[in-house]
Symmetry: C2
Subunit: 142 residues, 2 copies
Amino acid sequence: MMISTRGRYALRVLIDVAEHEKDGYVPMKEVAERQGISLKYLERIVPVLVKSGIVGSIPGKGGGYKLLKAPEDLSLGSILRLTEGDLAPVACLECGAAPCEREYECRTYPLWVEFYRVINEFFDGKTLADVIRTDPADNYSI
Amino acid sequence: MMISTRGRYALRVLIDVAEHEKDGYVPMKEVAERQGISLKYLERIVPVLVKSGIVGSIPGKGGGYKLLKAPEDLSLGSILRLTEGDLAPVACLECGAAPCEREYECRTYPLWVEFYRVINEFFDGKTLADVIRTDPADNYSI
DNA sequence: TAAATTACCTACCGTGTCAATAGGCAATTA
DNA sequence: TAATTGCCTATTGACACGGTAGGTAATTTA
């Protein structure tokens, strides 16, 4: 398994915020309830979204979160890389990993590099706008 | 990280066997030395390749392993699924996982399904023949 | 001003998986 | 007799995952 709850929950949070921000700032408490995710756990995931400038936050009563970018301009790749660190499918491609000394003789290394590229291109080719639904009537349709 | 040493080592074992089986049955001890992998660890990975009929084995002196299929007929997908269990990128798609009760309302579920398909198609579209080298002179080239 | 609400931070923890390591024994073959 | 596969058990250290807990700071509303 490759994409942990951090990345999956971050995505669901952003989708939830995007679908409810017409009501104003969206408090994380509401997101947690709607998504069935522990609020405390979300409180550890969301700050990175704020720091990166994806969402803005306002404290106090009536506060919450709001998207700072249009869903069309927010690639899923950037969200997942932010929360997962990277999307490397194997250890030798991970950010900060020591370069493998077998790299140049390894038959499989080019395979992983190509796969890594496919992964990034898949998620970079999709945006938040592709996964949200604006019409509430569609909520339970396929 | 998604593909563990089990799958990566299995692939390297099969590549090594494919590249050396012209000398007869290839003992795992030699594979372990060439690949720089613990023999003991390989002994826990290889049996599944034998049981599935990918390689044949002969015990005793002069024994070892040999491919039972042509490299062109051996997809990397089948090898990896065999050793990794499955290539599911998220928990809710893993073999044997309880079906997610949010499946039909989840905005991200179709995304994971599509990604899962991309992964399988990537590895099913490649065979062992695509990653081995038959000319020893190419061993250290790019 | 006071209460409520929310964001934000640090620390901790139980569970499980990963990646080996170690040792041994039986069967088979050159 | 040496080499090799095949199979088994047990152990271990490191680490990530998923989550819990409690507290602090900032802001807004009443």
